[in-house]
Amino acid sequence: MLSGVRKSVRWLLVLTGALLLIGLYLLLTSHRAFALDETGCLQCHGTPGLSKTGPSGQTISLYVSEARVNTAAHRYIDCTSCHTSKPHETAITLNKQTQAEKCGTCHSYQYKLHAQSIHGQQLRQGVTEVASCLDCHSAENNPHAVIRVLEYSAPTYKKNIAGTCAQCHAQEDLMATFGIVEKVYESYMRSFHGKATALGTYKTTELDKATCTNCHGVHDIKSVSDPSSPVAGMENLTKTCVSCHPGAGPEFVSGFLGHKEASPRYVPAAHYTEILFTTLLISVITFGIIVVLLAVRKYIANRWKETL
């Protein structure tokens, strides 16, 4: 009788334990997303090292990381939506323009804007150093690792955008070949907007300052000499600032150094203030340090802490 009760209690315990474990397993694994791979492409392409030899003899990796695909924006889109149902019939191009066109088959709005931007215009003329979809949407330039734009790890998340543009715009040699001599990234990071964005946390309330795309646009970035650029000319630039600084007038905007440094010819007041204050700083502090050093020398000579 007693042993029967004990037995059923023991079974009850085992059962609850098992249920708890199953629940825990489900709980811990539920957040894991799995890519939709209805056609079983990853059976072969999920193997590291799968590659083919390109037309000019180079090895092209055909490995598609399942881990990457699982966290990508397109994880619920089957491989064949992008690759057609006969993927092995079309050779991959590894060409920025055709890749962009592929993205454009679904994202036609963004594609059209981009095609008219300075980056897209140049891309269509065969200049490959400019930004295309994957340069801004995947940290590894991987078509299968496009991150949703509002994820913290996305290259397009506001806090990361400056770094994304800096991949190219902080390369002085590359920019010089296009006649862009201003150090746009450095100067942005020196500005209040840049410092505050870099120091801010990932919370949106911390990221209300301007980053590159707030002033230049996103898919519709224009050359700054294009009159339709949001930073071209006083009128456009004022509109851009006013979007975040209500009531800003022409004087507010004229005080903006852009990416240039102050010089005797450009905002001379700022240039001379810098010289004045640096001179003041150096001379006063040198004076202070000399006095302190002389005092220290004397006190050591008199022996430290020996009173009176």
Binding site: M189, F192, G194, K195, A196, A198, L199, G200, T201, K203, T205, E206, H245, P246, G247, A248, G249, P250, E251, F252, V253, S254, G255, F256, L257, A262, V267, A269, A270, T273, E274, F277, T278, L280, L281, V284, I285, G288, I289, V291, V292, L294, A295, R297, K298, Y299, A301, N302, R303, W304, K305, E306, T307, L308
Partner: protein, 244 residues
């Protein structure tokens, strides 16, 4: 800063301490010290934004917005201290008929400065005989007259850039940032290197000088640091001697 007219205050003959700062001066200095420290702690990470320490410190404070909020709050405290000081001076001059002559710069300060340098370098045997305020203390005080207005005006321009440029030319914005940024380094290094050194790290005072916090300084110390004032207060003459 009571004006002593040559008579010996009765309590001074008995007490071990000399009253050096009144309660207003101590309160002003306290808030100056607290607000300045907060301003440095919340301003420097913005100036040196790329350094790892700044990033760590900002995350401790909870992000840039809390940091900027503290900077602004402390800035208003500092501005309030200035207003307090101005009222204190006005009230002292108009109502209490004080002269505040002790803090005026005089030709003697230059002489004392060279005497002290001579003393430090060993060219002179005795310490210079300082009055109530020595040249360093006067320098500190007048440095405030330059430093705080510069910091406050440039800071307010950056706080209200749109309002400021409604009646000021646009170039004040970059100028304000540069001036604020550089002047902050000047103030910080001066206070840490010179002010704190001479007030706390000198023999006989180390590790702590209570005068600005309690208002009192020991007679012994006073004799050494401000012999001229001591003589005026007590009528006793003080022999200068070598030593700190």
């Amino acid at each position: 800063m009571t004006t002593y007219s040559g008579t010996i205050p009765a309590e001074l003959a008995r007490e071990e301490h000399v009253t050096r700062f009144d309660i207003h001066q101590r309160v002003q200095h306290f808030f100056l010290m607290v607000s300045f420290t907060l301003l440095v702690l919340t301003g420097m990470p913005l100036k040196f934004a790329e350094s790892g320490i700044s990033k760590w410190w900002i995350s401790v404070l909870g992000g840039v917005e809390p940091t900027r909020l503290i900077h602004r709050g402390a800035a208003w405290v500092m501005i309030a201290v200035c207003v307090y000081h101005a009222l204190y001076l006005l009230y002292g001059i108009i109502v209490l008929k004080k002269k505040f002559t002790d803090i005026f710069p005089t030709k003697n300060d230059f002489i004392l400065f060279f005497q002290e340098m001579a003393y430090f370098t060993g060219l002179r045997k005795e310490r210079p005989r300082f009055p109530r305020y020595n040249w360093r203390e006067k320098f500190d005080y007048y440095a405030m007259f330059w430093g705080i207005p510069v910091m406050a005006l440039t800071g307010l321009v950056m706080m209200f850039p749109v309002v400021a440029t409604r009646f000021l030319p646009g170039w004040v914005l970059p100028v304000a940032l540069i001036a604020h940024s550089d002047e902050s380094m000047l103030a910080l290094t001066w206070i840490v290197v010179v002010h704190v050194f001479f007030n706390h790290f000198v023999p006989g005072v180390f590790p702590f000088n209570p005068s600005i916090f309690t208002g009192k300084l020991s007679k012994e110390r006073y004799k050494v640091d401000h012999p001229v004032e001591y003589e005026k207060l007590t009528g006793q003459s003080v022999q200068s001697k070598e030593g700190n």
